[in-house]
């Protein structure tokens, strides 16, 4: 698989990760388990960062020609 395809698909993986993390964060917040809130917040932020990298990689390839 080429770079473009990988970054394209990975964005959906990061989207899924963020959906799950956000729900865990909210669950931890209302259950007052602040440890969970922090760890899933960090997971979500990292995956957001990676998604940004993937998106710009994809964009570069997509609009190259």
């Amino acid at each position: 698989m080429d770079k473009k395809r990988v970054s394209f698909l990975s964005i959906f993986v990061f989207l899924a990760i963020n959906v799950i993390s956000l729900s865990k964060v909210i669950e931890g917040f209302y259950g007052k388990e602040y440890g969970h809130v922090y760890s899933f917040m960090i997971v979500a932020l990292i995956s957001t960062g990676l998604a940004t990298i993937a998106f710009f990689t994809w964009r570069k390839q997509e609009y190259k020609s």
Binding site: L15, N18, I26, E33, T48, E62
Partner: protein, 176 residues
């Protein structure tokens, strides 16, 4: 006559359809949609990711407040073994109960029942915490429900015994 008309209609329809097909540049259309879709997905990913931060910030502020909250609730000789005392912790409107257990330890829990928030009492006779509303029973040693409708444990108040005083120093919602 009607047959004829139908036929005419039919062919006119076909002509229209052909024009539509001419208009369509399939490759480009699919491309554009795919791009837009990815961009929307990326936007959603970022939005969801960033939406977690306010929860983190509020949690940090809250737990800081709770950490620095030390309150004296009783002196060591105030309660005899098997006696209990009500107090409020961490704020004035969160009732709690302090128990000196038969094996001479201090334990404390917020005593709002985790079923429907009735006040929970210490029953010396059976050495349990009892919620009279629907006969909910909690274990004195760990605050976990043992019988009746409640499903979750009572929030545990962390205690410290210092200089002959019993201090409340924190709270745990989910514990052992």
């Amino acid at each position: 006559m009607t047959e004829d008309r139908k036929k005419n209609n039919q062919s006119a329809n076909d002509q229209d359809m052909m024009k539509l097909v001419d208009n369509l540049n399939r490759k480009e259309d699919v491309n554009l949609n795919r791009r837009a879709f990815l961009k929307a997905s990326f936007g959603t990913t970022v939005a969801l990711g960033l939406a977690t931060t306010p929860f983190g910030v509020i949690s940090a502020v809250r737990s800081e407040k709770e950490d620095s909250n030390q309150v004296e609730i009783a002196s060591v000789d105030e309660l005899a073994i098997g006696e209990a005392k009500n107090f409020n912790y961490p704020t004035e409107d969160e009732p709690a109960v302090l128990v000196r257990t038969p094996d001479d330890r201090y334990v404390a829990y917020n005593n709002k029942c985790t079923h429907l928030q009735c006040p929970v009492f210490y029953e010396k006779k059976d050495n349990v915490l009892l919620c009279p509303c629907h006969k909910g029973y909690f274990d004195v040693n760990n605050g976990h429900p043992v019988a009746g409708p409640p499903q979750r444990e009572l929030p545990k108040i962390l205690l410290e015994v210092k200089d002959g005083k019993v201090l409340a120093v924190g709270r745990e919602y989910r514990h052992g």
